[in-house]
Symmetry: C2
Subunit: 423 residues, 2 copies
């Protein structure tokens, strides 16, 4: 779509029909399911709380005349028929599961914005050539079952289904077991295959970072998702008495860990702040004040949007750790890898154009967090719409977002769906 094209009118109309009040009501109703009492939600994937959320979204879909589907990993789809019977659908959505002390917007917003966008088109009597589907992906957070984005992974790569169904939570319950109750709870949703053809995918989400707020922008047009690599670094030294062992006789695993982390900080130094480098976990053993540490484990999480940099930095982590091991030994293990995803083409262009039509302030923004969109991008043109969240706080019960921003994001989504599905 070119900016200012004739096609802009349905997008603007769809945007105008979005109801801020309805969106807020649904967000509040959903936030009651698994409410923690401190403003957040604990609605981990395929728990009774998540199952209730699934029932509610299916009920809302049925009330709007949408046809519910599910698949073998428990993703939920609410389908609005298109005028072109042979066209693959345009999908929009996110996830309803949460972190154990999660916020009420992370994921849920993208699903409810999609539902509201569809209802806005209904209100205007706008038909689309391609079917539209509201999608709720299973276990995005990875809090109960690891890896995260499990539902969209299986959707994009059905060959991985058996392995993903076998994943167990800390109580030994498998995804396959947990899905039995979740499926039974929504008998209206017919089973259909994973990985059906998709025309395009759009995901609205709170930013989960501070950039939009600090720049005073309403909409973030997401340029891509940073590639991630995570490592486990295990250092072995030797326990010794803190009073009797001279420094030259020590094999202090914590001293070595600090040298390694300082070396990694130099490796990751980036004045442009594009690299994200975090040591989030560090465990000392035996962790006693008067004992020289005999072992340390720490994690490295680093992210970068450019594949060449993502590859080059990741390849140097082991060497930097070894070069700084001193008298200790070190084992570096890469525990997970996600390539960078760039959003280019029709979906990103349409998001940008609709945002311009609606005269909303916006900026291009990279997602440092992973999203289901990274899996959909492997299948079809994909894009994401970010809205600001208060102080960038997310994965936290105090997560918050301004109603006006949530409405603006939904308006953009409605316009984009109208465009992409051919209003």
């Amino acid at each position: 779509m070119s900016r200012g094209s004739a096609a802009a009118e349905p997008a603007r109309a769809a945007a105008r029909a979005v109801s801020a009040a309805r969106l807020q009501e649904r967000l509040e109703a959903m936030a009651e399911i698994g409410a923690t009492g401190r403003g957040g939600v604990n609605r981990q994937a395929l728990t009774p709380e998540d199952v209730k959320a699934r029932q509610l979204i299916v009920r809302w879909g049925l009330e709007l005349g949408l046809e519910p589907f599910t698949d073998e990993i428990g993703n939920i789809f609410l389908r609005r028929a298109g005028t072109d019977a042979g066209s693959p659908p345009v999908l929009a959505g996110s996830h309803l599961d949460s972190q154990p002390t999660g916020g009420r917007f992370d994921g849920t917003y993208g699903v409810l914005a999609a539902l509201e966008a569809v209802q806005a088109l209904d209100a205007l009597g706008i038909k689309t050539a391609a079917p539209l589907e509201v999608a709720a992906w299973t276990n995005e957070e990875g809090a109960r079952f690891s890896p995260g984005c499990l539902g969209s992974k299986a959707f994009a790569a059905p060959g991985r289904l058996p392995a993903l169904l076998a994943v167990k939570d800390l109580d030994g319950v498998s995804v396959a077991d947990a899905l039995i109750a979740a499926r039974r709870a929504v008998p209206e949703a017919r089973l259909r295959p994973l990985g059906i053809p998709v025309k395009a995918y759009v995901e609205a989400h709170i930013e989960q970072g501070p950039v939009l707020e600090s720049k005073g922008k309403t909409i973030g047009v997401v340029t891509g998702i940073a590639g991630r690599r995570s490592f486990r670094v295990e250092i072995r030294g030797e326990e010794a008495h803190a009073g009797t062992t001279p420094p030259s006789r020590r094999r202090d695993a914590l001293v070595s860990a600090l040298r390694m982390i300082a070396g990694l900080e130099r490796l990751m130094a980036d004045p442009s702040e594009t690299v994200r480098f975090t040591v989030g976990r560090l465990v000392v053993s035996p962790n006693a004040p008067s004992v020289v540490p005999g072992a340390v484990l720490f994690t490295v999480d680093f992210r970068h949007p450019e594949e060449s940099v993502w590859r080059r930095l990741g390849e140097q982590i082991e060497a930097v750790c070894e070069a700084n091991a001193g008298p200790c030994t070190v084992i570096v293990t890469e525990v997970s890898t996600t390539r960078p995803i760039a959003f280019t083409g029709i979906v990103r262009d349409t998001i940008e154009a609709v945002t311009e039509h609606l005269a909303l302030s916006w900026m291009p923004i990279l997602s440092g967090a992973g999203h289901d969109a990274e899996n959909l991008a492997l299948l079809c043109p994909t894009g994401m719409i970010f809205v600001p969240c208060e102080r960038g706080i997310s994965h936290n019960e105090s997560e918050n977002a301004a109603p006006a921003d949530l409405t603006a994001g939904t308006q953009v989504l409605a316009g984009v769906l109208a465009e992409l599905a051919g209003a």
Copy 2:
């Protein structure tokens, strides 16, 4: 005593009468009480195992005709009368309690070496002017009840008795409660006051460090006990998403902790290796790989034998932490303090002279670990005799020491006691 004095002969005789076999038999019998099955002992203070060890040492004392005493903190004394009825006793000993996974020599050796030294004098028919007492101090390790060296603390400062009796273990049992069974188990031991006059105190102990072994010396003449200061450093930052939060927006408590520790390493840098500086405990919160750490706690343990340095370095710790806090806040709390103790005068001189008379290889050595001797030094002339321990490993079930070294240390102790008590 001057070297080569006429008084050297009783010392040499006493040393010759020490029985290596008897010492080993008693060490082995004691190691069976609380044996862990992996070569070590778990004989924490005032537990049933410690009580058994107390019964055994009292029985051995009675067999040698020694008179058992105890005091209000449960220290045990086995008294051999002197020819001068008015003289305060010379004490020698250490402790029988252990760490939860402790070794069989730490403490126990000093008590059994003293018992063997007394028996050697008996065998020769050597009388001393001053009485001799074998001492076993309560709760030196501080593993069950904190602080450590509790029995000798109360002995040296009886005014602290009520507070020390009120100390509780993790199960809420107080020292006072635990003492009831311990006292009942040795009814032969008469109660006497804390802090009686003492003529001199000598403690034999394994080094618990690698210096004697690496220098090939049999005896360490201890020059003093390093002063210790320990601190708790608590850092508050802010949890944030590892993917979405730019470095300049982070308040990463672990990054600040690493800056602080690097600053403390610079402060404590000492080519002479006299300073002992250890960060033994470091705890990260929430300690999740993809969350920027919101809080870190770490401990500082540092030791130095010179009061001026001990004071100056300790005073700078808070300032170094604050200077390196970056965007975080920090609270530094001093949690314990022990001044440096220097062993000078008659006891140290006598240890050195007897070691020379016996033609044993020796060196002066500083104790980086704390010992009951640090409290006795407040009351009377005090010194310590170190013997090598394998690879410097202690507070560990694999703690080990060569029988020949243990015997040599006992020979020195026997000679020193003969000298100090006036053979």
